[in-house]
Symmetry: C2
Subunit: 324 residues, 2 copies
Amino acid sequence: MITFEDALTLVSQKIKDIHYPKQPARLYEPIAYLLNLKGKKIRPALTLLAYNLYADDVQKAVNMALAWEIFHNFTLMHDDMMDLADLRRGELTVHQKWDNNTAILSGDAMLILAYKYLAKYPMNMVLKNLLDLFSITAAEICEGQEYDMQFETRTDVREEEYLNMIRLKTAVLVGACLKSGAILADADAKDQDALYDFGINIGIAFQIQDDLLDVYGNEAVFGKKIGGDILCNKKTFLLVCALNNSDEQSKTELLQWLSVHDQPDAKIKAVTELYDKLQLKKKAVAQIESYYGNALRALDKMNVAKDKQTVLTQLATELLHRTV
Amino acid sequence: MITFEDALTLVSQKIKDIHYPKQPARLYEPIAYLLNLKGKKIRPALTLLAYNLYADDVQKAVNMALAWEIFHNFTLMHDDMMDLADLRRGELTVHQKWDNNTAILSGDAMLILAYKYLAKYPMNMVLKNLLDLFSITAAEICEGQEYDMQFETRTDVREEEYLNMIRLKTAVLVGACLKSGAILADADAKDQDALYDFGINIGIAFQIQDDLLDVYGNEAVFGKKIGGDILCNKKTFLLVCALNNSDEQSKTELLQWLSVHDQPDAKIKAVTELYDKLQLKKKAVAQIESYYGNALRALDKMNVAKDKQTVLTQLATELLHRTV
């Protein structure tokens, strides 16, 4: 069995080794730039780990893992442009370092490149299942990004709408990365589905944790300024719950703060106080634990020895207790 | 044998019949909008015609034809945004009717949808060849768009660079649409390549004809204002030749006109006069005829009865003499 660290290292090396056409440089250089920014390659590593639950030759899962990582970075390239983000992993985003047209076109080329990696597998039912999973997941992620953008201008987003959005935008990719490893290793359909479920639940828990850390994280440990989501009115789990669960007076106050853009410290303080009053930290932690429990129960359904599953349960537990 | 008109009708009907998810509407409505704008669906019709050279059941080629048409419209959605185009087939472009983010994201969803249509075919070597052709062609078209954008700010584009750009941006798709029909019908590799060559040559001839009509077309017949390319300094075959073949004095004058934006009529008149002086219409017509000749010679290499080829030679001839 390979460890999670082994998987991360293998994936990073394979990404470094990708060969791009030399010309046109402006089409391919942004792809290499984004793929090689520092940052853990968790998703493709999950594909290798899932494959490794059933088969030893993890090299066989590398092209699938690369397809996911290239796809994921394609979504980042386009999303950063749509979201007007200047930085990605501490470095300039592609549309900032080059320009918007470059981000659009290099992103398109990345999506095509991801399919090229997928098509390296032999033509059989395994590939049929991988292709279907890949395209369905890719389309769902577009849907998630679309909902996320729509939520920006809405103040009536319901909690289940929010959870559905993060399922589409974030969690289905985690589930699909895991499931694809099981498909490649020819695991039972039941195991494939269990891994997918595990990934979905971990993915949702991860995103709620992310929302929580933005407000309640330790700034020194978290590595970025606390309250960033509050300042840009991002519809996080906390904000959506606050908008749904406040009394009329608190809600009016909250909506007023959403229109304030020139008092960052006061805005963070006031919104956090409202979150405190509504006990949203507790609510979020309860949700995270609930999804964590679902994830572990999904693993129980698998036909894989408990000790082999440890790599996944450990990962889930680390996630639950992460502070960054 | 089906006629070209039959093929166009069949494709248009199948495009109308595409079923999209209802939600999120803002992701899927722009796809249906763009795909159903009036306008001939020539490329997917070529797939059906090529298939029909070897097999009768053209319905079997419909999913491939749809994949190409969806892919082509994905490139239009993104290119129109990159090129700041307001109109497409006389209607608002997607980024104008909705907004930029919608054009990016719906375009992404279209590219994924195109692959979904491709993946409807059984998993065998035919699909392997289709997938490879599709991804290689798609990447080349991105490269072509990249070169086209780079040419906007260059005045030293060489004629062969221009021809390579239109090969990538326009011609490879025509070649690939034809070749895919032959692949699906299990035609000989030699025939597949001959159809691809035919398409490449017709595609390049088509684009040069397009450049020519912008300057020398009949405004009433052409349906759009003559000189549009001149006004926006588009690097057409004519402008590239003019920049390469003028004496120093004419070139200086031409470069000066490129920086003029407030005297449209005078600019069109002056640039056209320079084209006349350099006899560029004659040169362009000679090029078109040369590519037309190449195209017909490519068909000669095919293992298909001459009378069956008529539908393609007729199409090529109509193209050569088209006035719109």
